[in-house]
Symmetry: C2
Subunit: 266 residues, 2 copies
């Protein structure tokens, strides 16, 4: 059964359309999907469209249940999944909020490098370079752009306790990140994703990384203050916003003499 335009819950109807996943009436496969998945899709759509912004309170389970004409339990299951995917945050007694990077809780979600000894801390941030370029072929492909489209290129160095440790190059779609200047970036403390979210309305929800060991080239050696050829952790990341849309390509080189990349396998 579909929640779209249907009030009665028929049972024989296994041929129901779910018209939200791809947006319009793509139709081809009936592809039955449970009610709570359809609800989840509607909620995701509201997040994606900006109807509810990061940090905001979304309607209560009871209200959503009334709005969609389903039971509270069904809405609950939909929200449970969104919560498991870090799209929303539940707070007992208060409500359910749209996830945001402007929180202590998520400070380290996308920063996996940590000191071998001692407490985790957030590194100082120094922007080296900001430029607008035409997307090289490889960047365009990874960001789903046409080759030659406008992109923002950004280079920065991050330091722990004054020791340069991370060199990063970022490529961002120019159409989204208009007016990104070195001043705005250097003025910002904390995760860059928080800035992207606040200033450019782009909330990152997940990322995929490819990690390798490489030798420091001249640029890296100079900026990190090490010798040419020293081993560095190469981390290539593609980040996605709502709807699995790639909106950032990031290439990092991590100095792992006193730090390591921590990964929990489960």
């Amino acid at each position: 059964m579909s929640i779209i335009g249907s009030s009665t819950l028929t049972s024989i109807d296994s041929e129901s359309a779910q018209s939200l996943d791809m947006g319009m009436a793509s139709s081809i496969a009936p592809t039955f999907s449970p009610l709570y998945q359809q609800i989840k899709g509607l909620l995701t759509h509201s997040l994606q469209s900006g109807e509810w912004k990061p940090g905001e309170l979304i309607p209560s389970e009871i209200e959503l249940a009334a709005r969609f004409k389903v039971s509270q339990g069904t809405v609950r299951k939909a929200i449970d999944e969104l919560s498991a995917e870090n799209l929303v945050v539940r707070r007992q007694g208060k409500g359910t909020f749209v996830a945001t990077h402007n929180e202590a809780r998520s400070q380290f979600r996308f920063l996996r490098l940590q000191p071998d000894q001692g407490e985790r801390s957030y590194p100082e941030n120094k922007i080296i370079e900001v430029r607008r370029l035409r997307a090289p072929a490889d960047v365009a492909r990874l960001l789903d752009l046409k080759s030659g489209e406008s992109v923002v290129f950004l280079r920065r160095v991050q330091s722990f306790s004054g020791v340069p440790t991370i060199l990063e190059e970022l490529w961002l779609p120019g159409s989204i990140f208009k007016g990104l200047t070195m001043e705005r970036l250097n003025a910002y403390k904390g995760p860059m994703y928080a800035l992207f979210e606040s200033e450019f309305g782009t909330h990152m929800i997940r990322a995929s990384e490819a990690i390798r060991a490489v030798c420091a080239d001249e640029v890296a050696a100079q900026l990190l203050g090490i010798e040419l050829g020293q081993p560095l952790l190469s981390v290539e990341r593609i980040s996605f916003t709502y709807g699995d849309r790639a909106v950032e390509l990031r290439r990092g080189w991590y100095l792992t003499l006193a730090h390591h990349y921590r990964n929990e396998l489960s």
Copy 2:
């Protein structure tokens, strides 16, 4: 309400040592925990004790509900969490099974290295060395052993399409891995964790890795067929079985010329 002492319930497992978790009648700090969490604890205990072994079918939700005198929904929520933690696998129409490493599904759960291009495949495995030693201090500390206790030391090389790519050294508690010989290891195809589970009754449920970039030392260079000083991905892993007991220390050196370590951040 607590399921402990609520009634006679069940029979054999009244020994279920979980009673330390809460004290109903005991005044000050009851430390209330939800029913489904208590159920989850009991189920985990059955897994840990070996009452249900990897690959086996556990009792149905209805039977467990009757046994614990709770509703099916409560058992369901407990099992949902175990399923999310990969301790059990649900199969509609068949039942719920104890998770096992002897499955195609979990082949790559603990093998994050994959080719830059082409399909993932499982590497060939060559055991170089197996020895029984007394645990060095650092190993003992990480495995929660006393310094000098018996450990099994193991060195192997894994190759993709004939190209040596992974060098690994493993440290295992001698008390658990008795009779681990090079023959048994070389005879085994597939993940080592499947062998550990089948032959030694030790099922790994999670692991924690620290990743760095290092230079190849003489041993690594020789075994991987590369030059001294070439960059390698250093991966130090501690693996845990039920009850968060550390039972493996693994140090790996990965050649990342045609492969990369893949990590999904979410």
